[in-house]
Amino acid sequence: MTFTLLYTILSLSLLGGLLAVILFIVAQKFKVQEDPRIDQVLEVLPGANCGGCGFAGCRAFAEHYVNNPEATDIFCPVGGNPVMKLAAQVLDREVQEQMPKLAVLRCNGSCGASERLNIYDGSSVCAVAADLYGGETGCSYGCLGMGDCVNACVFDAIYIDPQTCLPVVVEDKCTSCGACVKACPRLILELRPKGPKSRRIYVACANKDKGAVTRKVCSVGCIGCKLCVKACEFEAVTVTDNLAYIDPDKCRLCRKCVAVCPTGCILEINFPPKKQKTENE
């Protein structure tokens, strides 16, 4: 009886010891030498693994950041400046600050604004519909409204507004990772600077047709009339292919273009009501 016990204890301990030695040797042999700073950088990153920085995930970003001291274009759009400062502290580096950005939808063609000409009856994926045909409305540039951007967003920052049938970007949640921009088959989402006090002005249209054609299919489309170009004192607005574009770097948020736009496709966001117009800027 005691022998049995002894044998059991002995053999198990021996086995345990042996395995421990093997594990130790294997661990030593296959040890990966890694810069400890990578882990430190990784710690300050948001850890969303969204790929917004252009790397496969936060770890890939950290590796790249640590190994390329010269590179200046590495930036985590999700963490923004505060995170980049922390990461730079770990490595004793300077950080190039970037304006916080936000995804905006360059389409305002809500259910009411443009007439539906047909009913889409395929799988509910924008990319499938975009491959198939011009779209439910006469506008072959605008939002298809099936939510590829919603599915692409890992931060839950986009939802489809049932009233307008258009996706809405939630300002507080959007991290400007750019996943929606890549997901949109019509390329109508754009990352734009958030602007001071979150105020910004942009053209909510992507239609490149001639004015008359655009007007026929959508009441809020850009018709390329160039009134905004004339109104702008800072040369921030340009019209190419019958479509206006406001350069966010040049725009001073004076809102003159908004006032002159005949179709109202230039949107102003987060400005106080019109009365106090003179006080701004």
Binding site: D121, S123, V125, A127, V128, Y133
Partner: protein, 447 residues
């Protein structure tokens, strides 16, 4: 025992209701919209400008490269505009718009109905005419014919297969063409055969649900040693190039290889007719035959139409449109082409094109998709796939966006025949996702 292809396939009801309706000439429309993108390859480049006056058969656009085809005016009149217009799916395509004035044909085009079956041109002359007169494959993909007839290095064609399978349900345009213009079709085929080489064997493949067409072609080819008719067992997608070669010759086209690598070249019977007209009558490809049909028998027509006629006009003449410009009551969908591979029309003002073979009208009940359920792994899609792919797997990989695995599972072999979606009991949009994945991977490759 009729032959057929060996893998997969489905048996939809053929519904060829319009098969006894003779081909009518569709009246010349007041205005035509001639797209510059009617063929596979580079879009043609317009050589006319706004205000020019053109005659029927006049060149209005030149090919932009080798894999491209010229486009000719289908009516005479004044060019009203050269600009992007929405085509039948609502996408903008560079289009030449012509306002019709009379019916003035270019000199040198033989418009007499007399059949000229005697071939006087040399193969070189025939080839030149095919490429100059804008002949493209009329089986659906509109691949420029002269490209297909150009020999590739190391690949000697042994067979020319004329495709009269018309495996798509509803369509009868090829059938009517064989019945009414069998001699011309054979002459056109013979001319293509001579271009490929005199030792090439000609075969006409026709499905056995068209016994009259088989009889006509058998009678016409009886004197020829180089031609034979092969009746095929009805099965979709028999008219697919790879399936037809398999059915007729028992040869399988390797994955990623061109069909010609098996020694066979497939041309549609409509293409053969167009070749006949181009070579013997000097007539460019400005018209084609299409079927207008629906399953309740109220509208059954076979029309010879001019290229660029708005779809709305054809449907109005056929009686499918209300006075206020909407589609008549029970119909909800118009399909340009056959119901299995055709594209649905989103813009009725869009024009028909060189390769349009039919306009099929469907009611909502017939065609509306049911809500997709869960995959029950019944493997019906796998059994139906004529390319022996695993649609259920490709579907899941496509949803996950796994490009590498998709290619490892031969997603590019997919011929988009639609058999998987047709047979899926869970109504999963298999082909939608697979087609999308194919397009995305192709785009990424080009980058």
């Amino acid at each position: 025992m009729s032959k057929t292809f060996s893998i997969g396939g489905i048996h939809p009801r053929d519904n060829k209701f319009s098969k006894d309706k003779p081909i009518e000439n569709f009246p010349i429309p007041k205005r035509v919209f001639i797209s510059m993108n009617q063929h596979l390859g580079m879009p043609a480049v317009p050589v006319v400008k706004k205000g020019d006056s053109v005659k029927v058969g006049q060149l209005i656009a030149e090919p932009a490269g080798f894999v491209s085809a010229p486009v000719h005016a289908s009516v005479s009149g004044i060019v009203a505009d050269v600009a992007p217009y929405p085509d039948f799916i609502g996408k903008k395509v560079l289009t030449v718009v012509i306002d019709t004035e009379g019916d003035q044909w270019l000199e040198g085009i033989d418009r007499s109905p007399q059949i000229r079956s005697e071939i006087t041109d040399t193969p070189q002359e025939i080839f030149k005419k095919i490429s100059a007169l804008g002949i493209v494959g009329l089986g659906g993909a509109a691949f420029p014919t002269h490209v297909k007839l150009t020999p590739l290095e190391g690949m000697k064609p042994e067979y020319l297969i004329l495709n009269g399978a018309e495996c798509e349900p509803y369509l009868t345009s090829d059938y009517r063409l064989i019945l009414e213009h069998g001699q011309e079709v054979l002459t056109g085929g013979e001319m293509m055969r001579r271009v490929l080489g005199n030792d090439v064997m000609g075969i006409i493949g026709i499905e056995n649900n068209k016994p009259k067409a088989i009889a006509v072609m058998k009678k016409l080819t009886s004197g020829f040693l180089q031609w034979k008719v092969v009746p095929l067992k009805k099965r979709y997608p028999q008219g697919g190039e790879k399936q037809l070669i398999d059915a007729v010759l028992g040869r399988k086209v390797p994955s990623f290889a061109l069909p010609v690598s098996t020694g066979a070249i497939v041309q549609n019977v409509g293409t053969a007719f167009a070749v006949y007209e181009a070579v013997q009558k000097n007539k460019p490809l400005i018209s084609n035959v299409l079927t207008v049909t629906c399953s309740d028998l109220s509208i059954q027509k076979n029309y010879r139409f001019r290229n660029g006629t708005p779809i709305r006009e054809i449907l109005t003449a056929a009686g499918a449109m209300e006075k206020d410009g909407t589609l008549s009551a029970p119909f909800a969908k118009v399909v340009n082409g056959g119901p299995m591979m055709g594209k649905s029309v989103a813009n009725l003002d869009g024009p028909v094109m060189k390769s349009t073979s039919g306009l099929v009208l469907f009611t909502e009940e017939e065609t509306k998709r049911k809500e997709p359920g869960e995959c029950i792994r019944c493997s019906k899609c796998f059994q139906a796939c004529p390319m022996r792919l695993q649609p259920y797997l490709l579907y899941q990989l496509a949803l996950a966006g796994n490009t590498e695995e998709l290619e490892a599972n031969r997603v590019f072999d997919c011929i988009e025949c639609g058999c998987c979606l047709y047979s899926c009991p869970a109504y999963l949009p298999l082909l939608d996702q697979i087609r999308l994945a194919k397009n995305v991977s192709l785009k990424n490759k080009r980058k």
